[in-house]
């Protein structure tokens, strides 16, 4: 029988049994997931549900990046943190919550944040990257790092009652710069940062990010590459969008990229985005 030849031990067969029963995932999917490594950048609203579901599902190595500490006004949406964690490192708090669910998980903690200095070194340790950040410079930085290091990037965002989700830099799909070669004017971003978010909206998008990361790591289903989900929480509607392919003249992922391993450390994403 399959149970005598696969690489799961009896504890894993029990823990993941309901998942092993899904024909399109099965033992092969669980084995791939258990031997994969996934990096979640940002342990806030998106990262809370993304990290918890990746930990529960049985990813082999989970990476957590955030340099902030937990604040009271995070708790309306950041369900990975508890009141007693207020004032402590978000990465440490998130890792503790993940271990409570799944003590067999290996967790790599990066409490110093993500910058042009450490991005490539961190990203190279992982198979799949999840962008769960909340600002524009990070979105360009993470996309560029994933392009240079050749990693697929699951990217989610949420604001107010709106959410967006896609997979960048996978097969022939676009990277973030293919879609947005020029950053938006500062005036368009300022208003965003002031407008808040209904707590469960990043929770929904973060769970969907975990799903896409699990699909990529386990080889299940069709990843959301060259496609985007647009969520309108007010109406309870999702739109399924068909996106462009990779742009051959993209400065990051194109045929003659300007952004390379050699010059990556010199990039200034705050200056580029005007933040």
């Amino acid at each position: 029988s399959a149970y005598t030849t696969h690489g799961l031990n009896s504890y894993q067969v029990c823990r993941y049994s309901r998942q092993l029963l899904v024909p399109a995932f099965g033992i092969a999917g669980q084995e791939k997931l258990l031997s994969s490594s996934i990096l979640v950048i940002g342990c806030g609203g998106l990262g809370s549900s993304a990290a918890l579901y990746l930990a529960a599902a049985g990813v082999g190595v989970l990476g957590l990046v955030d340099r902030d500490t937990v604040e009271l006004n995070n708790l309306h949406r950041q369900i990975i943190h508890s009141e007693e964690a207020i004032g402590t490192s978000k990465v440490r708090s998130a890792a503790t919550s993940c271990r409570r669910i799944n003590s067999s998980l290996s967790i790599l903690e990066f409490p110093n944040g993500f910058s042009a200095d450490n991005a490539l070194e961190i990203v190279r340790k992982f198979d799949v990257v999840v962008d769960a950040t909340d600002n524009l410079p990070s979105r360009y930085l993470i996309s560029d790092a994933c392009v240079v290091a050749r990693k697929p990037l699951v990217s989610g965002a949420a604001l107010g009652l709106d959410g967006q989700l896609t997979v960048y830099n996978h097969k022939n799909g676009p990277c973030y710069r293919c879609l947005f070669p020029v950053p938006p004017p500062q005036s368009a971003c300022q208003r965003c940062s002031d407008s808040g978010v209904l707590g469960v909206v990043p929770g929904i998008i973060g769970s969907l990010e975990a799903l896409e990361a699990i699909k990529l790591a386990s080889g299940t289903g069709e990843p959301l590459s060259s496609r985007m989900l647009i969520f309108d929480a007010s109406l309870g509607r999702f739109q399924n969008i068909k996106l462009r392919a990779k742009n051959p003249s993209c400065v990051a992922c194109g045929d003659n990229p300007e952004i390379t391993e050699a010059n990556f450390h010199n990039m200034n994403y705050e200056a580029f985005t005007g933040v």
């Binding site: 947005f180 965003c192 068909k242």
Partner: protein
């Protein structure tokens, strides 16, 4: 046709997400639609939506759920029953 705005852009249109637009001709281009929107719907802060003849950086244009890059960009044709969505990329989380 219907013009929709999302991701905060609807605030530029008096918080109305959907506008029905009656086309004078059977078919126009996105470029002409942007001119019409500037003259008829967008009362203020045009720089939050437009730049030159196109939309500002950070705005995606979707025609019947397809990225306008796949449909001809500014030259993409729009017919009577089409749906056009203008969506601002989000960075929050």
């Amino acid at each position: 046709m219907w013009a929709h705005s999302r991701g905060g852009l609807e605030l530029l249109f008096g918080s109305v997400k959907c506008h029905e637009v009656d086309l004078d001709s059977n078919e126009i281009t996105v470029e002409k639609l942007l001119v019409w929107i500037r003259e008829n719907l967008l009362k203020e802060r045009q720089e939050m939506f437009l730049k030159g003849k196109s939309v500002r950086p950070g705005v995606l244009v979707l025609i019947n759920d397809y990225d306008w890059e796949l449909m001809g960009h500014l030259e993409a044709p729009i017919k009577d029953k089409d749906s056009v969505v203008f969506i601002s990329t989000l960075h929050g989380g």
